[in-house]
Every structure is written in structure tokens, then in C-alpha cells.
């Protein structure tokens, strides 16, 4: 069965600490992968996608096909990073629709 898992519901770190939000997927083929973020009282928005290999707001995510993971990382967390983060794989064939993980709430304390 196709599944995306974000094992942590809540991740609490202090400002300046490194952050890693975990995402594991079990999909046939090689899905495209995305991270979406929802800041407090704002709408869900795209943070980054693996094909772009970009760094957005200091966040990066590397696709590890061997481990089927797409963890989101930032070396030094900021208070404004506090938000809900969703990992979302997308199948390359067949029904093309994002499937969202259960989300991880990141809390960055001062």
C-alpha cells in the first residue's frame, strides 16, 4: 500500500538548534516529493520540492531512494519557523494527486 509517514507529531527545539523533520514513504516507482508548510493563521503553501534541489528559508530536503525518505532539515532553527509541516509524495503515473502525511508541528522556542 502507498503510504507516507511523518513519525513525529510535535518537534520542539530551541532557537539556533538544528532541525530535522522526518518523512518516509512507500510508493511504487519514484514519486516526486514536496514539503508544504502552514504557519499560524495562514494558508498551506509549498515550501520546496525535491526536483528543484533548492534551499528555501534555509530548509533543504534530500531524497534518499535507498531509505525512501525525504527528511526536511535546517541547520539553525528560527522562531518564525514554528509551523505545521506536511510531506507530500506524488505518483509519476496513474492518478496524479498529492497525498499528505499527517504533519509535524515544529515549535521553536526562544
Amino acid at each position: 500500500a502507498q503510504r507516507v509517514t511523518q513519525p513525529e507529531k510535535l518537534l520542539s527545539v530551541f532557537k539556533g538548534a538544528p532541525v530535522e523533520l522526518k518523512c518516509n514513504y512507500s510508493y511504487s516507482g519514484s514519486p516526486e516529493l514536496f514539503w508544504y508548510v502552514q504557519y499560524s493563521r495562514q494558508r498551506l503553501q509549498l515550501l520546496l520540492r525535491h526536483i528543484s534541489r533548492e534551499s528555501i528559508k534555509g530548509f533543504t530536503a534530500d531524497l534518499n531512494k535507498g531509505e525512501t525518505s525525504f527528511h526536511l532539515k535546517k541547520p539553525f532553527a528560527q522562531e518564525e519557523d514554528s509551523a505545521m509541516y506536511y510531506c507530500a509524495p506524488l505518483k509519476r503515473t496513474g492518478r496524479r494527486a498529492l497525498t499528505f502525511g499527517s504533519g509535524t508541528r515544529l515549535q521553536v522556542q526562544p
Binding site: 494558508r43 498551506l44 494527486a97 499528505f100 504533519g103
Partner: protein, 113 residues
């Protein structure tokens, strides 16, 4: 300029009622979606329309009926509301093409009492 808008923002209603949530996007996108976010923050796709045509219909009770009068609008009508329908409903849209970036509306918080 709001890209994807939803009305109402909050909806409180009693069990058994029928209600609608409206969604409009002014981005010229061809594909629109409805998602449901439950109290545990799980975000699940319900429906997807492409150019007014239904392309994804997840296992959703048939009390939920999407309607797309044109490609800029995708409304969600819910009949005989139940307590379990309480959730935040998000509309989203995306352009045709390789990018799968979806643009989300602000959400409608539905509370069924």
C-alpha cells in the same frame, strides 16, 4: 488580491442540515481540489476537478457533492450533516503542466453541533 478564496470562513450548523462551501480562484488554473483536515490535522483529498470535469473522487459519503459551474469555481455541498463532518475544509487549485504546486484557500472551519 486573493488567489484562492473560500466562503464562509466559519460555519456552525446543526446535525441534519444541508450546507454549501464556495471556492473561487482567480489564477486561471484548470484543476481544483477539496481537502478535509480533521482534528488530528490529517489532510485528505476528497475531490478533484479539471476544467469542470470530476477526475478524482475519493471514498467520500455521497452526502458530499462537489459542483463546478466553471473552471474558476468549485463548490462543496453537504447534505444531512453529521457530527463527524466537523473539520476544516480546504480548497486548492493548480495550473496545468508539470508543476504540482497547489495553491490553497484559507480553509472553512465547519462545526456540526
Amino acid at each position: 488580491d486573493t488567489a484562492v478564496s473560500q466562503t464562509p470562513k466559519y460555519l456552525v450548523t446543526q446535525m441534519g442540515n444541508d450546507k454549501s462551501i464556495k471556492c473561487e480562484q482567480n489564477l486561471g488554473h484548470d484543476t481544483m481540489y477539496w481537502y478535509k483536515q480533521d482534528s488530528k490535522k490529517f489532510l485528505k483529498i476528497m475531490f478533484s476537478y479539471n476544467n469542470k470535469e470530476l477526475i478524482i473522487n475519493e471514498t467520500v459519503p455521497n452526502r458530499f457533492s462537489p459542483k463546478s459551474p466553471d473552471k474558476a469555481h468549485l463548490n462543496l455541498h453537504i447534505n444531512s450533516l453529521e457530527l463527524g463532518d466537523s473539520a476544516v475544509y480546504f480548497c486548492a487549485s493548480r495550473p496545468t503542466g508539470a508543476s504540482y504546486e497547489q495553491y490553497f484557500g484559507p480553509g472553512t472551519r465547519l462545526t456540526v453541533t
